[in-house]
């Protein structure tokens, strides 16, 4: 087979240049800048700076608070991913079987996707409001005093609930289209082999949904890690106090509110590494374990 090739180097470089420039200016240059400033302690106005080597990183790892925030972020990500995926899957499986009013039913499940995270946060504040929020009053019926912004775990629960609610529609849409792309012949063949709906789901439908599910897993993890910022900011009203926060929110708190550029940059670099690991994992697993038909 003949491979198309360029005779000289000039043309391909020229063709690639626009993209390389965009990637360089908007991705690598800021990233390099963050790496650089993570090794300094710098006056925010740019008058003085001291090279501190790995001090910013060592300080973070030695900080009990940073470790606590990291642990919360992991737990938060796990819970949000688990709940939003599983609830969406159940809804999608049920919606797939609806015969009448399919469109209305599906639209009702999808509209939440249009709610922006900060708005979702404000809705969360209203629903869980201290004293007279509907959820607060509902929980009070069971004798539980839910105190958003006061109790660490109450605020954490509200964050998980709002983030999950906000992200179910995306998962729902993908799961539903995944379900609908399973060939009818396969389903019918399975129906002949086994009458149990549950068994058919786990043996046939779920494995065929695996590529979708894995893709969604990665999407959900990145959502919980990075896109929940606006929601968290609305829930803690900009004053985190003793409330939980995620690693991304801490970057903002230290860097933008506190003007600690060095410490905040070190946190950003740690997040960059995390994303890198996640990406490598995604491609590895995709290549090896998930079979696309």
């Amino acid at each position: 087979m003949k491979r198309a090739s360029f005779n000289q180097l000039g043309l391909p470089v020229w063709l690639l240049l626009p993209q390389l420039v965009i990637i360089g200016v908007f991705f690598y240059w800021p990233a390099a800048h963050a790496v650089r400033s993570s090794f300094y302690l710098e006056d925010p106005f740019g008058f003085g700076s001291t090279f501190v080597g790995w001090d910013n990183y060592a300080g973070l790892l030695a900080s009990a608070q940073y470790v606590k925030v990291a642990v919360f972020t992991l737990g938060f990500t796990f819970l949000v991913t688990f709940f939003s995926l599983s609830i969406a899957l159940v809804l999608a499986v049920k919606a797939d079987k609806v015969i009448r009013g399919t469109r209305t039913y599906r639209t009702l499940l999808m509209w939440v996707y249009a709610v922006a995270p900060p708005v979702a946060g404000f809705l969360g504040v209203m629903v869980f409001y201290q004293g007279n929020g509907p959820m607060t009053e509902f929980l009070a019926l069971f004798g539980y005093e839910f105190r958003l912004g006061v109790n660490y775990y109450d605020t954490a629960a509200a964050m998980v609930a709002v983030a999950t609610w906000n992200h179910i529609p995306v998962n729902f849409i993908f799961f539903l289209s995944g379900l609908q792309s399973i060939p009818q012949s396969v389903k019918e063949a399975a129906m002949i082999d086994n009458r149990s709906g549950t068994r058919r789901f786990w043996d046939i439908t779920f494995p065929l949904l695996a590529p979708t599910a894995f893709f969604l897993l990665i999407i959900n993890i990145t959502y919980a890690l990075f896109d929940t910022f606006g929601m968290i900011d609305a829930l803690v009203k900009g004053e985190p106090g003793n409330n939980p926060m995620t690693l991304v929110y801490k970057v903002y708190v230290d860097g933008f509110r506190g003007n600690d550029l060095g410490g905040s940059s070190a946190q950003s670099v740690i997040l960059m590494v995390l994303v890198l690991v996640l990406t490598v994992f995604q491609f590895r697993v995709m290549d090896r374990r998930i079979h696309y038909t």
Binding site: F45, G46, N242
Partner: protein
Amino acid sequence: MSKKNLLAVASMALGLTLSSSAFAETQITWWHGMGGALGDSVNEIANDFNASQSEFKITPVFKGTYEETLTAGIAAFRAGEQPNVMQVFDAGAATVIGAKGATIAVQDLLSENGIDFNIEDYIPGVRYFYADAAGKMIGMPFNSSTPIMYYNIEALEKAGMTPPKTWEEFESVTAPALKEAGYIPLAQSHLPWIFTENFFSRHNLPFATNDNGYGDGETKILVNTPEIKANFTAMKKWKDEGLFEWYGAGWNDNQKPFEEGKVAIWLGSSGSFGGLQKTATMPFSAEILPYWETVTKEPKQTFIGGAALFAMAGKSAEENKATAEFFRFLASPEVQLKWHKQTGYVPITNAAYELAKTQGYYEESPAAETGILQLLLPAGDNTKGYRMGFYVQIRDVMNREYGRILTGETSVDDAFATIEKEANELLARFTKTQG
């Protein structure tokens, strides 16, 4: 057209633009963090200044919260696009004053532009908060407030009580009676500001080494000390006994129950007065902050919170003159009085305070005077304020640990040990940023 002619036309055109710009007014910008009704008052001040003369024009720009305003100003400064005037809040003072070369001291700016400046014209308590170690005023105090005690008049009458003078009185007499009368006796907004920073000032205790951080060199926080720990131990006890309630770190969450009449006494800002008049559902008044008699027999003044205006460096002499003229206008008694009446922030000069008195403003609303009376109390060695770097984060640490004390997640001893440790680490880090 020959080359020579072209040059002549070009230079003529240039001359025209130059001369027309010389006649035009000098434009300056003012970045601030005052939203809502306060923002309207800010715009009114700017409009009044623009209408008062034709040489200068100031344009106020709302930049979000205090923190967002400071961050936007810093980013703009690094890009060479800084505004002429930037509002910086109390906790950000060390950052902006520490960056020598970022601002022009207001005192220098005024005297360079031939405007008289005497720091004694400013009321005590306001004077030195934004000054350097030598007492030179760097930032122009703008919206200055101080923490005071608001009380629900009906609640105190119902309980047959008068506003407490000391915390001992509150603990043993006032609070139990208020609880009996069906109220939550006490709530407060902003524990770091009221129950920490101003606690040290009111009781004349050092808050940090190195002249509360104003001196040059390394500063260490003195927060892990018996008096303040006793204060928080008492507060936790009050909470457990139902004499105090805490609604989270947000300011409004603690103010709201007072407005609704559930909480009888609320510690807030003198600057809350204007807003409370619109939102409170019951008659209220204000008194100066109580103190612990066991700590001191001679309580002192508190200092200001709020924010100051800084003249940013790197601007032309012409624009600096405009800024100086604007500061002169802002400090004039009439403008200060209007601002004071609209917002409840204290007037910053003695002249403005005198004007308010002669106009009889405090006879019609005595509570409006409380903040000033408190700032006029005797001064001590530890009453001019504090100067600590990365203080926004130190406040975050305090808010976090105080919340944990009040929800029973940690003990007072552990919390203050943590605050001391983390604050001193932050202070040491800040010193390195200046290197």
